[in-house]
Amino acid sequence: MELIKGYLDSNIFLIFLEEDISNSELVIEAANEGLFIPVVSFHTFKEVMHNLKSRYSKDTASWMRTLIWTIKGLHIVRKEEIDEIGDKYQDLVDDKDDLPHVNAYFASRCNYFVTTNRRLAQMKIKDKINFISPKHFLIELNLESLDKKDEI
């Protein structure tokens, strides 16, 4: 049986660190157990590093980077792959800074875009992308989930 491919938005990793326990953390664990193919882009690394350096420290950001790149079977979408899609979906997103992630999702032929960002899931692009919360992604994988506010 072919494994589901899930694009993990930067906020999955930020919530993992922020919450004592969360569905985002369970999603990362599921990836590490090989229950789906986890996908991120080079943007994800940069955003998480940028965010944690500003709110925590360079050390914390580095540990998080290490945690991400050692997730089992992780696929990292490169800049060239994002470039190839170009502006094809630009009109369907409200903020152009979301476009690299949208392109990375399509470039890696993902089945789901796992995010806690409801704003993103309300854009026109929602007709082409399967946005899903961490909680519902766990349900999709037939795994137990937590009852957390905003399904994080």
Partner: protein
């Protein structure tokens, strides 16, 4: 990414276990097994370090503030790479 060679002496029983795991199709080769084990240990260590940080942290920020700061990072990274 450059790589370096590590010579590791393993007990006979562990070596045998690795070969059996390969024979049973869990790993492609001894290299595959050892690389996978090292990756797992690095992952678990970083998880422990971050878990310690969670325990020591005094106050958490709200989800709304977290998403706002994530958006700020997204804008900054986009500007750095694409502008």
């Amino acid at each position: 990414m450059s790589s370096k060679v590590a010579h590791v002496r393993l007990p006979e029983a562990e070596y045998k276990f690795i070969d059996e795991a390969i024979e049973n199709g869990y790993f492609l080769s001894r290299t595959d097994f050892i690389k996978s084990a090292v990756r797992l240990q690095i992952h678990e260590t970083s998880k422990r370090v971050l878990a310690d940080l969670k325990k020591k942290r005094r106050k958490k920020i709200s989800l709304a503030k977290l998403l706002k700061s994530a958006k700020k990072s997204r804008k900054a990274v986009y500007k750095e790479i694409w502008s």
